[in-house]
């Protein structure tokens, strides 16, 4: 038990994780490229045309994975932040920091693709639907995290302050989600609704899942690459980084 703990803490050191991050990054890049390629092929050539929405529905194959990833990444970030606050490990804070821009990007993509779907389906670029609104708020939470980090110069202080924000945020996300739901259903008069397709075609579902897994692998790959840069920047006065720098150039 004790030795396993020690092992974990060994990997929580940036120096030991640095080469490992590269390996994880390479593997997940390969997986991401493969899955997204297959997913795109299925989205356009295997999945049948929707009888109601025609070809327009194909947006779903980027829209839904992006939406899911944006929500998932925020929770993961909060998890890292909690670890970082409890064990005072820099690496987990950097993990959270490395994920944030990707999460924000997916939140933005969810909004963007949603709008590009909404225009032909509903005739408006934007409606104040519950899910849409809470996605927008999620984007604000990401931006708030990044803005707070960039407003604090000392990285160790930024770590702890932004971790507190993440934890407060993650407590609030479900509250926000349900309150928005309630707000919307209580006085939503119009007929506009996201269509809950229970009768989704199997190939559609599979394509969507494959795309989601691809996005997932992509997130890991990008986060690892960003993490490596962050480690180098933050640990630049550490001996191993200096050696690396004078060797590698």
């Amino acid at each position: 038990m004790a030795s396993r703990l020690v092992n974990w803490f060994k990997f929580s050191s940036p120096a030991t994780f640095f080469p490992l991050a590269r390996k994880i990054g390479v593997v997940s890049t390969v997986i991401a490229v493969a899955l997204i390629a297959v997913g795109l092929y299925m989205s356009f050539f295997v999945a049948p045309t929707d009888y109601k929405q025609g070809e327009g529905y194909r947006i779903i194959f980027v829209h839904v994975p992006a939406s899911w990833m944006s929500m998932f990444i925020y929770v993961v970030m909060a998890g890292w932040a909690a670890l970082g606050l409890i064990f005072n490990t820099r690496l987990s804070m950097m993990m959270a920091q490395a994920l944030a821009p990707t999460g924000a990007m997916f939140a933005f993509l969810s909004l963007w693709t949603g709008s590009f779907w909404g225009k032909p389906m509903w005739g408006a670029w934007w409606v104040w639907d519950a899910r849409i609104t809470s996605e927008l708020i999620l984007l604000f939470l990401y931006l708030g995290y990044m803005a707070l980090r960039s407003a604090i110069d000392d990285p160790r202080r930024a770590d702890r302050a932004s971790a507190i924000l993440l934890l407060v945020g993650v407590v609030n996300v479900p509250i926000i989600y349900y309150s928005v739901q309630w707000w919307n259903t209580l006085h939503q008069g119009s007929t506009i609704r996201l269509n809950e397709e229970s009768t989704m075609d199997d190939t559609m579902l599979i394509a969507m899942l494959i795309m989601t897994l691809g996005f997932w692998a992509y997130s890991i790959a990008v986060a690892m690459s960003r993490l490596r840069t962050l480690i180098l920047e933050r640990e630049r006065s550490a001996n191993w980084v200096r050696e690396l720098a004078s060797r590698g150039g």
């Binding site: 000392d154 160790r156 630049r236 006065s237």
Partner: protein
Amino acid sequence: MSTGSTDPALRIDALSCVRGDRMLFRDLDFDLDAGELLHLKGENGSGKTTLLRALAGLLLPESGEIRWRGADIRRLREEYSRHLLYLGHLNGIKGDLTAVENLRITAVLDGFRLTESRAWEVLGKIGLRGHEDLPSKHLSQGQKRRVALARLLVNRASLWILDEPFTALDVAAVQLLQEVIRRHVDNGGLAVVTTHQAVAMIGEQTRSITLGSRA
């Protein structure tokens, strides 16, 4: 790591502090015992303030430990605060409150009560007679510093951490303050003090540490 009964009151162990890229000091060790005064020296920017803030527990050091009577101060928290009086570059007084009010509220937060008349008395002693009930924002630089220092006359903390306490004070006040610190140490208190002024901090109990020049 020893937690025996012979622990010094304050033990600093392999302490290192980093600000930005700069390692201000590395592996600093020293002990301070009851009845000792530590005069911390060093040129501008050598890390005195940083060290004092770490000692007070306001700042997380990069590595190393600070122990109060054998226990890590990060663990003790409020328990440590009970024994501590820290006075930094800032005075820590509210400009909208009078000197009397400032002194009394600090006392309550430090965990004891101070009657109004006692507060007036102490402020008179420190040379603020006639200014006790002026909002402190109107006071002069040196008078504000005196309000902050008035805490020293009523406090029961055993460890005093004073960062440049003599700035802005005139000659009479400097003398008074020296006297107060000496008395505290003679009565078995501990003090860590920085000052650039050529102030005599005499007494056989005075030790001094000089922080290295900029790394």
